[in-house]
Subunit: 937 residues, 2 copies
Amino acid sequence: MMKTQVLTNTTGTETEINPFRVYHFGKVQNDGNASMRNLLGGKGANLAEMSSIGIPVPPGFTIPTSMCTHYNDNQQQLADALMIEVDEAITLMEQQTATEFGSLENPLLVSVRSGARVSMPGMMDTVLNLGLTDIAVIGLANKTNNARMAYDSYRRFIVMYSEVVKGMDAEAFEELIDAAKSKAGVSEDTGLSVEDLKELCLELKKLYTELSGDEFPQDPKIQLRSAIEAVFDSWNTERAVLYRKIQNIPASWGTAVNVQAMVFGNKGASSATGVAFTRNPSTGDKTYFGEYLINAQGEDVVAGVRTPLPISKESAAQKCLDGQSMEETMPKTYVELTDVFEKLEKHYADMQDVEFTVEEEKLYILQTRNGKRSGFAQVRMAVEMVEEGLVDEKTALARIEPSSIEQMLSPIFNLEDKANAASEMVGKGLNAGPGAASGVLALTSAKAIEYKQLGVPCVLVRNDTSPADFGGMMAAEGVLTVRGGATSHAAVVARQFGKPCVCGLAALKVKESTGEISIGDKKIKEGDAISLDGSTGEVFFCKIETSASEVIQGIIDGVIDPNESEICKQYQTIMTWADKYRRLKIRTNADTSRDLKIALSLGAEGVGLTRVEHMFGSDDKLLLLRQVMLAKDEQIKTLALSNIEHFLKEDFTALFQTLNGRPATVRLLDPPMHEFMPHGDADTAKTAKALKITDAELRASLGDMEEHNPMLGFRGCRLGILKPELTRVQVRAILEAALELNSAYIPCKPEIMVPIIMHENELIHQRTLIDKVAQDLFAELGQKVSYSVGTMIELPRAALQADEIAKHADFFSFGTNDLTQTTLGISRDDANHFLPTYKNGVSDPLTGTGNFEVYPDDPFQTLDQSGVGKLVQLGVKGGRSTSKDLKIGICGEHGGDPASIDFFHRNGLDYVSCSPFRVPVARLSAALSAIRAEEVE
Amino acid sequence: MMKTQVLTNTTGTETEINPFRVYHFGKVQNDGNASMRNLLGGKGANLAEMSSIGIPVPPGFTIPTSMCTHYNDNQQQLADALMIEVDEAITLMEQQTATEFGSLENPLLVSVRSGARVSMPGMMDTVLNLGLTDIAVIGLANKTNNARMAYDSYRRFIVMYSEVVKGMDAEAFEELIDAAKSKAGVSEDTGLSVEDLKELCLELKKLYTELSGDEFPQDPKIQLRSAIEAVFDSWNTERAVLYRKIQNIPASWGTAVNVQAMVFGNKGASSATGVAFTRNPSTGDKTYFGEYLINAQGEDVVAGVRTPLPISKESAAQKCLDGQSMEETMPKTYVELTDVFEKLEKHYADMQDVEFTVEEEKLYILQTRNGKRSGFAQVRMAVEMVEEGLVDEKTALARIEPSSIEQMLSPIFNLEDKANAASEMVGKGLNAGPGAASGVLALTSAKAIEYKQLGVPCVLVRNDTSPADFGGMMAAEGVLTVRGGATSHAAVVARQFGKPCVCGLAALKVKESTGEISIGDKKIKEGDAISLDGSTGEVFFCKIETSASEVIQGIIDGVIDPNESEICKQYQTIMTWADKYRRLKIRTNADTSRDLKIALSLGAEGVGLTRVEHMFGSDDKLLLLRQVMLAKDEQIKTLALSNIEHFLKEDFTALFQTLNGRPATVRLLDPPMHEFMPHGDADTAKTAKALKITDAELRASLGDMEEHNPMLGFRGCRLGILKPELTRVQVRAILEAALELNSAYIPCKPEIMVPIIMHENELIHQRTLIDKVAQDLFAELGQKVSYSVGTMIELPRAALQADEIAKHADFFSFGTNDLTQTTLGISRDDANHFLPTYKNGVSDPLTGTGNFEVYPDDPFQTLDQSGVGKLVQLGVKGGRSTSKDLKIGICGEHGGDPASIDFFHRNGLDYVSCSPFRVPVARLSAALSAIRAEEVE
């Protein structure tokens, strides 16, 4: 039934628009389907889709978005032709539901909702029970045999209509309700009697008349017309316009209007309402899972006034509710419902979350959507649905959120224990390192190590952490900091080592002097219990039991047999599929062979980033670096350099040996110099002694080195250029290690990476130096090894000049942490002064309420694609314009973030490198990206 | 005489190359001219050009760059055909100079030089006196009647040939010379007798034979062949290749070889040598200016062993050297020389710097080039050459370096006094603010103000400066800092107020406690004399007299009548021409009406940047900001906000009134917050009291506010978004001021500018807020004024997202200071840890010598066109893709830098805004850019 529709607009010309003015949905006539989202909006398209496959949906119709545009193009006038079709559609609904608008016996009531292509705040919400009038309310009372409910609905409808449709101020109406309550001597709405409600309805209608000059409309069609106009008008409210501006939604899209017959689950014992999942959303188990209430409306299930009952006999039995399940009380309808479940699951080829109502034994489905599920359930359902033949591997994979895999790796709280601890929850910081940790409070690294030695699990709490806290962090079960974001030192180290971590809990006060921490009026001391959930950011001042996940126990620790664990087997299946479909290689950021072993067992294919500065973790190694930087005596310097070469060589040998031929990228020293220099009197005195200079001399040198903005200071290759001796010993150590392994027939071709390149001349300098050091070494030892030299792209200038830089680089690796800092002008260490508020909403300039979202994500967690991403694109384009096959990777924190990985996939990178525990997430994400890209093609 | 030349290369195929194998220059045959630079190299082209206009140039020939390419394409073999032509060319030279290669009477000696299109380090230097042999040296001795000179030349030639041409190690030769000296019992080379030198020549030749296995060549043609090969080989030395890589010079360009007959100014009383300018390079006066020496070689003039004499009678008379000028001693040749001067000046249409030699009354011109001249001379010559009809206005303008104008504005040292003070020069920092300053040493702002009140001129010396030093800087004659670069606080403020300033003199030690400063072993105390030259960076520990420039006295101070001053008139002429040709508008960065008045008298057309944070200069105003940021008592905050609104309104009123309808861009508050907060105990206590909180509470709040990298911290619009009340009072103050002026019939349409925009949502937020505040204010006052809202583009993300941002901006202004910091990842406050070394040369990775130039300029002075410039281009493109006619300016320090202004001109900006004293430079630069752009078209 395709016809071209012609409307005369106010200027007299005729406009050809979409074939229908209204699109019916329901059993009798159904004009749409899921693909018509742009025209019918999301809500309308889905209602039509369900109808199209024979699901019993309460009938209704959708006025398409094109009519909204027409309305706005014609001085906010509803076309007469449209209203004629609306009338016809109402008639059809009346026929189907055996009701009538305004009827004293069986009135037709409808809901009216807006529905754009995408959900949008600022637009008109739902108006329920439209069609209620002084007469219809009697009809509703009769029909439901519940006069109280009928008049309560009526008084709500009057207020909703006045406020939402007519834009009247809610306050005056609220005053009348309050007056009614005080007159009746009750404090709750529910205390009002039928008579009270009837009188209240009269008062409300009177107020409506006072405010509008009109009677409250007693013709449902007039109500409907006004509601349609209100939906269309809501498209252009100040708030909606501002939102569209921010989200870049064109005004021309418009909104649809959905008008649907109301059904009633509260028409007695043969009526009911409920929600259900077609499989268990917690465990993934293939059993129906849901709740229902007899003689109730949808909101009753949610409101919690009555306790809902399980739908299936089995669940009911588990809860000792024999004979009360829907399977038992409404066996016929239950079968109908499970048929719908099967049909829906098959149609959408996914687990469904279904809302239903039974009106006098007649089943209606009000909504279905793909059901949300826990990470474990996602994985299990994916594996089982493929086994069942419901979906193929790619589709199954595409359903899994990559963070589910992370959940499978993280230590976990016992859920019940956590729920019981809810009252001890003191705050929520940044969920910086997933997993659960519980232990006693430790405020210093030394204390944490002490507890560790005593065998007492502890949680390290610091204002922020520095490399000096490394030992303490390793000793602790988890880490909590007051300052710092998702890529702060604490967070990076925590994720690297799989430590649960919460960062940036700004409200927390740490008093090291008294050994106390407090938040608001809650306070604990060192030794008291504290727990944190790094997956959610929650912090508790109490103990909660945790355990290592099955996957960790089976795959890494080897304490259980992975073949005996269903969860391990599911994990392995998913990973095998992921590896089959992904194009991106996955490397890891590892500085020790210990990290590296974990990463390899989790599937890493090489090292994308070894940070030489992380090899200076211990006090004696730190001292060597201080000697090179600060000593005046050349002998001390020379000896220190030689010692550095020596220990680095050992570290590299261990690392390369573990890699056993896999690629290894080593980034030359890029220390945050201020963190590496002595702090405090004792440290300064000790260092001065080792440097054979006075404390005062050392302090003077440190003063000279001090920087206002160390992030933009003397670091990276700037150091290697001004102190070529540092580059020299690193290169020697790397190549000596490689030579030694090659002699032992272990292949190794190191990739040497130069950091913080801003100008090609810097790379020319370092590359020339590296090649010279290599040639000298090879001549010295009479042996050669092949190696390559590449660079980090981590400053905007490097990305912009990538073509020039590529002339001197064998590979690129994007350092998106630093690139984000400079591109956005945000220091990640200081971002918590404003970035969390940007995300959570700042004060709205129009209303003053705190819901103006400035920046949707944490750019240090998820790549800022339209800013930093553009530089990545320019860098890739520039680099490959010089070297067609230039190998390009990324080794920032974004290498473990699914959305960012997708971006890197789409932009042709060769690999991503992430911290060891992120490797499985990256493998899955890379596969999802490949699958998505195929779909797009 | 154009012929096509065919050469057979080693693979047997024939290559068609350039018409000649050698290009003659000189009177008898001259094949080239100035336009053939690519083929003949710069040197060769210029020699040919001079010959072509009849200037007497010693004859010779150029082997073109194409032969170098041919040589390299053919396994480093010189083509036989080439060597035949070289022989012929030598014969021609012999004929012209009546000499003969290797002659016992009158030997032909030649110089051999490399000469590429552009001058290039790493390439072969000059070999002089080629042609000397055991026989020719006798000929030279006879010819010059100076056996000592002849053998000294021979021994030098042997070493130079061995080293430069044959690549032998210089050290062994040096040892022989040392041995000769100790044998003769002398310490200087000049102590060696003719006999000593003869013996030394023998020893040196013996060593040559030992090292090479060959006799030292006694055939000048063999010497020449080897020298030609050496020049070509020098094109491919490691050093030259590395340099080309850095400078992007293609290997295919090759170098030319210049072979030129040597002439001798030391052949007795009728011979001489000298250098001269066709006009006075210091004053611009149209009189010949130069020096000469009778019976001398060129190097004698430079070496200073003998004192050269003036060439003109007039100059000689001034120096009481009657009868000794060339005009008097060699009247005929002097007339020939001045004829050459006139011819050259006319030909090149510019003042020439000429090197000449007279060999037995015959005049030779060895070199001419456009003469360097002082700023004053540049301006005077430009004006006078136009008056003379020698050049047109555009050409004259194009000759003036914009910095000349700056020189005309700067206070000046008396040149003689400065020369006398040379021994007190203690170091050279960054020439951050032009001009000369002299006074007593002041180490604190308070001290500087005290001296000012006593009427004692002083120079303020600080480690670095902050807003708290503003008063002291204004009180001082000049400012010197130990830290900080060309855009440090000190430098920016100094230039803004025309204060001479030297920054980053790192070797200086400041001891405030003892009131001393020292550098090396030189030390002075507060109250001692110190002087600095901000145009050169020189610092002196003594007094040197200074005075304000005539232009300042005439144009700004009005203490002299500009029409009575030649210099003022010249300045005005140049500025009038500049305004005639420029397209870019010139605005100024001004925060007070005092600055603004200066800028307007120097030609500014409006304000491009008023920094609201600079209006918080005094202690009481600072306190208001601290109250807003830190007070817990809402009443204190509210009162502070209202006081801020009040004083800002007054400041804006004064500013807008002075502008009198010219455009005014006001940038909302962007304070470096850490500089605005209290420092030290006293300040903290005072502030705490004003905030009605305890010192401890204040310290805690300050601790919370502390940032690791304030440059990337809580600033700019981030402040205005989280503290909308601050935006509110600023906008109210701006608009109230505008309304008041409009009421008094003074037009004013403020441009409100939002800083540090990273995301369009930030601008939407601030713009929505500004519009709301404006509407509320207009409603409140019943009056309206028009205004516009724009944004700074100063973060890479803003430039990359300019299309989105432009949707909400009426104008853009590039903040290239911050954009440079983030794009290059360099904090301008910390850059002196490495940036000066990058510019001056770091250790070369191959040789270890400190001549590897990483980055040629200070990117904070001259825009980094290939990095930051790309973002400016993307920003302009993006912005104008959204709004075709978007007004775009720039208000960073680069707005006053000529090279940067040229870039902004070429990229279609509408205006540049610079500090008041830079306005004339900007006017001239903009004109030069327009003229250059025309030439390119």
